[in-house]
């Protein structure tokens, strides 16, 4: 009990020392909980009623795996933050030892302290996140145009359990590390811990200048290449399959440039500011400058990593949003019918239909038989880059069935003469312009392309294909007389009555029917699937971005505090020679401001360039760029909020550390 009291008093007394640690823990728990609960089955099932359970399971599994990865990152962050506090307290622990307290007692104090902090931050984190996750959920679904019937308050014990277990493991690691540290240190080094000197290594100015110019050169080259039309076309021609080899030098140069930039920045800043005597010789600017440069000099590797991490977060959030938009805008198009069923076995079609009793779902259904034959491929008709893409088989149909389907979509039927064919084209690489012939030859007969349609789609399940080509022949043409042919029988229909209820009924029926030889694809399934894809992309990108920003800020904040502790003596000297509080605080504010904003500034330039490039691809691919201001604003607000929070926490705590004596 005595230990508990002592620990509790320690935590209370040094709660300001723990401020950054606390903020980080609570934010980490919140982010973890919110994303896990929003992607949990309990929640998604209520939101996506009638959606395919498989895709919901997929997104949940994805977030779970991602969370494992993220908990490793957070684990390291917590250990890092803890080691800061441990360093601060070495002297105190040394005094405990000197007073005759046993190491195992100290371990027990640290254990209880970690437990108190762990339980508090878990409690507050989860407590805050439960209402927040509801609000966040509504926001996300509203932004993504996912209609929610009613606001379901979903609380998942499972997710809460998961959060507690994951963070419990992290705290356990911290406890073990602390106990290990206590058992290892010698009293003398604990007591004298604060007297450690910081190493100074500001490179000569011309070396810094040369490295700086090299860094700017590398980054300039990278930006140039990324922004050039040439690179864009090269990558774009390749379409979805971006050859990694092409991007590798850009990536390597960009990363190297960033590292060199931060390596030389300290020296460069000193050289530049020195050139402006007005700035250099004003107030305690030269002290401020040396503080910043020595800090960058000490931490340039981690700052570079943080800068890259922030760039990735900004890009991933923006691109994630844009892709999400793309999926959203595209869904619902090109699905001609509510349902398309594909019969996997030709022989059992009648039997299956009888069993299904189609009449209860629809008044009229449209059969469609399609054929493909080996050797008849896209490149026969189109200017098709067969090296880059697989040369797909053309799909053949008969005109009577096709006309019925077109009529159902309100499209004029097409009359074909005996030697004429109709093409129905959907996609960007199969257009009337890319046709290389107006004739088509099969089984010794030559057919003329009489008409090309770009409207009307034949099957709902074709929605999944990027480019599809339908070749419609007169009814008398036979395709099943050759050797290598594929035949597929499908039947499409629209629901009669309440589509929502019908869909539920049909899906339900299919779920129970394991032996069925029918592959079911409904419009609703496609839309839900796309929304889930969109949700997955948005969630994953947001999740990663928030965590990366969080980690970056926490590390920057802790580095500042470490530095404040190490600089204590310098501020004492300043005070003695007559520097007042106002000057000191202003310098502190400038130091912290620059240290926080510098990586963000460079990262903004990086991601701006990257986003211009991504935007071009998106415009080309989807005829629209990254937009949705609402999403952008909410993302920016979130990042800004975390920034401000850490900035002020750091400033206040630094002031406290430096004003101690």
């Amino acid at each position: 009990m005595m230990f508990f009291k002592l620990s509790l008093r320690n935590v209370k007394r040094s709660y300001q020392d723990y401020a950054i640690y606390f903020i980080t823990l609570i934010l980490a728990v919140s982010v973890f909980y919110i994303f896990n609960s929003l992607s949990s089955q309990d929640y998604l099932v209520t939101v996506f009623q009638g959606a395919n359970i498989d895709s919901i399971e997929t997104i949940e599994t994805l977030i779970v795996y991602l969370s494992i990865f993220i908990s490793f990152i957070l684990g390291f962050l917590i250990i890092y933050a803890n080691s800061f506090i441990f360093k601060r307290r070495k002297r105190e622990l040394g005094i405990y030892l000197t007073l005759g307290m046993e190491r195992k007692d100290i371990s027990r104090i640290l254990l209880i302290e970690t437990l108190i902090i762990g339980i508090l931050s878990l409690g507050i984190g989860i407590g805050v996140s439960i209402p927040l996750s509801q609000a966040f959920g509504v926001l996300v679904f509203r932004i993504m145009d996912i209609y929610i019937e009613e606001l379901n308050f979903v609380f998942s014990w499972f997710v809460m359990g998961r959060t507690i277990v994951y963070f419990g493991i992290m705290f356990l690691a911290v406890i073990m590390l602390n106990v290990f540290s206590v058992s290892r240190y010698k009293i003398i080094s604990l007591i004298h811990a604060q007297k450690k000197k910081q190493k100074l290594g500001i490179p000569s100015s011309w070396v810094a200048l040369v490295i700086f110019i090299l860094a700017i050169g590398l980054l300039g080259w990278t930006y140039g290449v990324v922004l050039s039309q040439d690179a864009f076309q090269r990558i774009f021609i390749a379409g979805d399959l971006v050859p990694v080899g092409d991007l590798l030098p850009v990536f390597v140069f960009g990363v190297t440039g960033t590292f060199l930039l931060f390596l030389s920045l300290a020296g460069f800043l000193v050289v530049m500011i020195k050139r402006s005597p007005r700035l250099y010789y004003q107030s305690i600017n030269l002290f401020t400058l040396r503080q910043i440069s020595s800090r960058i000099q000490t931490n340039w590797i981690s700052i570079s990593f943080i800068c890259l991490m922030i760039s990735v977060s900004i890009c991933s959030a923006s691109v994630g949003m844009a892709l999400g938009e793309y999926y959203r805008d595209d869904s619902g198009n090109l699905t001609p019918f509510d349902v398309t069923m594909t019969f996997l076995s030709e022989s059992s079609v009648d039997e299956d239909l009888y069993e299904l009793n189609l009449n209860q779902y629809t008044e009229e259904s449209y059969p469609l038989t399609s054929y493909s034959r080996v050797g008849f491929v896209y490149s026969n008709l189109f200017d098709w880059n067969a090296e880059m893409f697989p040369d797909f088989l053309l799909i053949f149909y008969h005109i009577t069935e096709v006309n019925q389907i077109l009529a159902a979509q309100g499209i004029e039927p097409v009359e074909l003469l005996d030697n004429e064919i109709l093409l129905i084209l959907h996609g960007e690489d199969v257009t009337e312009e890319s046709l290389i012939t107006d004739k088509f030859k099969i089984d010794g007969e030559e057919y003329r392309i009489a008409e090309v349609l770009t409207e009307g789609e034949l099957r709902t399940d074709f929605k999944r294909l990027n480019d599809n080509v339908s070749v419609v022949f007169p009814d008398h043409v036979q395709f099943d007389n050759g050797e290598d042919f594929f035949k597929t029988v499908t039947r499409s229909f629209n629901y009669s009555g309440d589509a929502f209820l019908q869909e539920l009924k049909l899906v339900e029926y299919f779920r129970d029917q394991n032996e069925f030889n029918i592959d079911l694809m409904t419009k609703n399934m496609l839309i839900q699937e796309e929304k889930i894809t969109l949700l997955t992309i948005t969630f994953v990108s947001f999740y990663l971005s928030v965590i990366f920003i969080l980690v970056s800020m926490a590390i920057l904040a802790l580095q500042q505090l470490t530095d404040a502790v190490e600089s204590e003596e310098r501020y004492q000297i300043l005070k003695k020679i007559g520097v007042d509080c106002h000057m000191k605080n202003k310098s502190l504010l400038v130091q912290i401001g620059i240290y926080f904003l510098l990586p963000l500034f460079i990262a903004s330039i990086h991601s701006m360039v990257a986003l211009i490039f991504f935007n071009r691809i998106l415009i080309e691919e989807t005829a629209r760029g990254t937009s949705n201001p609402l999403l952008m604003i909410s993302a920016a607000t979130m990042v800004f909020g975390i920034y401000i929070l850490y900035f002020f926490a750091t400033y206040i705590q630094s002031k406290r550390i430096l004003g101690e004596k």
């Binding site: 000197k197 100074l200 005597p277 007005r278 250099y280 010789y281 004003q282 107030s283 305690i284 600017n285 030269l286 002290f287 040396r290 503080q291 020595s294 310098r570 000297i573 300043l574 005070k575 003695k576 020679i577 007559g578 520097v579 007042d580 509080c581 000057m583």
Partner: protein, 256 residues
């Protein structure tokens, strides 16, 4: 000659009614412009407390201290910082230089906080560095130069702003004898050529012998005063100091 520093019956007490320590007990003295005054006394005699009170780092219990006619005991915390940087120059035993700044920057810092213009700062830094013979280490960091050079840098910083009074607290305490000699010679030069008024606290007889006048403090009171004669050599003055120190009693350990 006008008095730069006027100390009037100051007292500094520590502790409570039952256990009162009179660190400074009714001390009064004056320092004229251009004087180099040493304050000697054993550890615990109250000399450092006295200096801290004059340096505005500590506050007196009673009495008044006038620097350049201004009563510093009446100043508020905010005004004190301004007063310190404008009127006082400090030289400490452990140098108190900023390790991240070059020698040039350390000296300049004393001027930038006064809001001097850049051109003047550059010129003045060169000037005082030359006077203290550290012009060759201007671009070096404190960790790259010797203790003596560090202390001369601190002195350069202290006098750069042309303060009314330079306060030195055991300036040779961390120096070897050769560095101490060089340092004291430079300090004397500062006094003689730049006319800096210097008040130095020390318990080192050798360093004290460079001053014009010495106040001896014992148990918080002024015990004795020695004034160097016009024609008197430093060595002769040194002998006289030794005598007083012997009289002070039991303090030989501090001298030798």
């Amino acid at each position: 000659m006008k008095p730069v520093l006027k100390v009037e019956t100051i007292q500094k007490y520590y502790g409570n009614d039952h256990n009162l320590t009179k660190a400074v007990n009714n001390i009064s003295f004056q320092v004229q412009e251009g004087e180099f005054v040493g304050i000697m006394g054993a550890s615990g005699s109250g000399k450092t407390t006295l200096l801290n009170c004059i340096a505005t780092i500590d506050r007196v219990t009673a009495g008044n201290i006038y620097i350049n006619g201004k009563d510093i005991t009446a100043l508020k915390e905010k005004q004190l910082a301004k007063f310190r940087r404008e009127e006082l120059g400090f030289i400490f035993q452990d140098f108190n230089l900023l390790d991240t700044l070059t020698v040039r920057e350390n000296i300049a810092l004393g001027l930038t906080i006064l809001g001097k213009n850049p051109k003047f700062i550059k010129q003045r830094v060169e000037e005082v560095a030359k006077m203290l013979e550290i012009e060759n280490c201007l671009e070096k960091y404190p960790s790259q130069i010797s203790g003596g050079e560090n202390q001369r840098t601190a002195s350069a910083r202290a006098i750069a702003g042309d303060p009314t009074l330079v306060l030195a607290d055991e300036p040779t305490g961390a120096l070897d004898s050769k560095s101490a000699r060089i340092f004291m010679e430079r300090l004397t030069l500062m006094n003689q050529e730049l006319g800096s008024t210097i008040l130095m606290v020390t318990h080192d007889t050798f360093s004290a012998s460079y001053a014009n006048r010495i106040l001896f403090i014992k148990d918080g009171r002024i015990f004795s005063e020695l004034i160097k004669g016009e024609q008197e050599s430093r060595k002769a003055f040194f002998e006289r100091i030794i005598e007083v120190v012997t009289l002070l009693g039991g303090d030989q350990n501090d001298v030798f």
